[in-house]
């Protein structure tokens, strides 16, 4: 398992030396927070910013998690993956490295989004509430990055991964409970939103903010995460070029 650390170190160094990429990933969620969170005329709540912040945090993790696939895709196209696969160290280390790196990177990005939200008027919660929020975001990040990384193994090139990426992320975001509560949704959207794993994470964070402990949602995210990661490990062990 020690290989995981070195794979993470490699990705981390490449990320922080990339300069532009460090900020570019923050632009989209920050824009949502400011332009939608502050501007949308909403009747169902007094503080829409508080309502939408969990959604934006999960959105940040969503794009962070999917970027695990992009990273692996480039490793594959540029010929790093064959070299890693030819190493005697366990192949699942490559997977765990990507999962942990993009999830932790997502948490760093989520922290910045959280700070921006508070600066423009979102409520401040207790350390325990933030701790639980981070736990939920992390579980969600693991689920998404394991899925995206494994998917990238099977797709031919970066274009098809980018297409799948867009195809997944936008509908997933809009059919979740990120933008509005279930009560104001049309019926058909409510059904979709309730089945959407994005909603589990968003609802869980909202529950935490309201002072509850959303055990069922946390448990379902954890179980989903473990199942998807387990399948991914098997795939990585058997992968051929």
């Amino acid at each position: 398992m020690r290989g995981v650390v070195w794979y993470i170190e490699r990705d981390f160094l490449r990320w922080v030396r990339g300069k532009v990429a460090v900020f570019s990933a923050l632009v989209m969620p920050a824009a949502w927070l400011i332009f939608v969170g502050l501007a949308l005329p909403i009747r169902f709540t007094d503080n829409y910013l508080d309502f939408i912040t969990p959604g934006i945090l999960v959105m940040t993790m969503l794009s962070a998690g999917l970027s695990g696939g992009t990273l692996l895709m480039f490793d594959k196209i540029l010929g790093f993956l064959p070299k890693f696969l030819a190493l005697p160290s366990p192949r699942e280390d490559i997977l765990f490295g990507k999962i942990l790196f993009v999830s932790l990177r997502g948490l760093i990005q989520a922290t910045i989004i959280l700070v921006i939200a508070v600066l423009i008027g979102a409520s401040v919660y207790s350390p325990l509430q933030y701790g639980l929020t981070y736990l939920i975001l992390f579980l969600f990040g693991v689920l998404l990055s394991a899925f995206a990384t494994t998917l990238a193994l099977y797709l031919e090139d970066h274009d098809s991964f980018a297409a799948v990426n867009t195809m997944i992320s936008m509908p997933l975001f809009f059919t979740s409970s990120a933008l509005m509560p279930y009560t104001v949704m049309p019926d058909w959207l409510r059904i979709l939103a309730m089945a959407n794993p994005l909603s589990y994470a968003i609802d869980a964070i909202r529950a935490v903010n309201a002072g509850a402990l959303p055990l069922s949602q946390i448990a379902s995210l954890a179980v989903l995460g473990i199942v998807v990661t387990g399948i991914s490990v098997q795939v990585f062990r058997r992968v051929t070029i």
Partner: protein, 318 residues
């Protein structure tokens, strides 16, 4: 025991047969798999390095089966693919350290320092790889591959895209490694390099191994002198006794002859009779290129450029 041993190794991609019933054994030597692009060289290396499952047949590396004992196989080999995959945003030292650590070397820093010195990269070790030349990047890849002292080193087109000096340096290192006890398995399509540096070569075309021997014996097999004729206009085989045409490409026809000096005269006469205009004739010793053309390339039917056929083809596309 041989280091690399294959028996009827075969790989299909769908219905396309990339490697067909390849049987060879490689001992402690520099072995080159020679072949044109798409002949199955890389597929063979991928199977031997456990990254591709053979459709049929078996292969062992250092006595371990490549399908069943993947991890043991990977422990005794290193693989350098043709893509030059080094992280340009990391320094040379960081790139090498990553591999030393992934291999679980006891003293990774010392080992990396030592190898960077061998590959003459010490002075630039802490610069970003972005600033490295192609030859330096290739040497850095060798550092990465050598950190765990593999028994066998697989190099896929190690000199592709490098200048003459860088290519010579790479081959110096490869030769030194072999002297140090390592088995080197390279693929290349540079005949001159295979001729000069490799102990044995296997010529592969369309997935089939056509010849397997030392470069010298392969050349001796041709046995004769090679005459090259530079042709002006249409080419026809003059059919002179004791002279055989074995390749024709780019207005250049190559012949094998028992006695070169005599054949030159006969050939010149033959061309004159056949009405073929010849710009020059030259006589030389056979090279590995000739062996290759002789084994792989059947002489193409000399056909002129067919204007009508070409137009029809273009029209069909539009």
């Amino acid at each position: 025991m041989n280091v690399v041993e294959t028996r009827d190794l075969t790989r299909y991609y769908g219905t396309l047969c990339a490697v067909s019933h390849l049987t060879l054994s490689v001992g402690h030597e520099i072995f080159a798999l020679l072949g044109p692009n798409g002949s199955g060289k890389t597929t063979t290396v991928l199977m031997l390095t456990t990254m591709l499952r053979p459709t049929e047949g078996t292969a062992t590396v250092c006595g371990h089966d490549v399908v069943r004992e993947g991890e043991q196989v990977r422990r005794c080999l290193s693989y350098v693919p043709q893509d030059m995959a080094v992280d340009i945003k990391l320094t040379g030292r960081e790139n090498a350290l990553l591999y030393a650590r992934l291999y679980g070397i006891a003293a990774p820093k010392d080992r990396v320092d030592e190898l960077l010195a061998v590959m003459q990269l010490s002075l630039r070790a802490d610069d970003l790889v972005k600033t490295y030349s192609g030859g330096m990047r290739r040497r850095l890849e060798l550092v990465q591959a050598l950190v765990h002292e593999p028994e066998v080193l697989f190099l896929d087109e190690p000199t592709l895209g490098l200048d003459v000096a860088a290519r010579a340096t790479i081959w110096e290192h490869i030769t030194a490694l072999k002297k140090g006890g390592m088995t080197i398995f390279v693929t290349t399509h540079y005949m001159d390099e295979a001729d000069r540096f490799c102990d044995r070569v296997g010529i592969i075309s369309k997935g089939t191994l056509l010849a397997l021997d030392s470069p010298q014996s392969l050349k001796d097999c041709l046995g004769n002198d090679v005459i090259t004729a530079s042709i002006d206009g249409t080419f026809r085989d003059p059919r002179v006794d004791g002279v055989t045409l074995f390749a024709y490409a780019n207005d250049e026809a190559s012949f094998l002859a028992e006695n070169g000096r005599e054949a030159l005269v006969l050939l010149a006469d033959g061309f004159a009779r056949a009405g073929v205009r010849v710009r020059s004739l030259s006589l030389r010793e056979p090279t590995l290129d000739d062996v290759f053309l002789h084994t792989v390339g059947k002489p193409d039917e000399p056909a002129g450029f067919d204007q009508t056929k070409f137009r029809t083809m273009l029209r069909r596309r539009a």
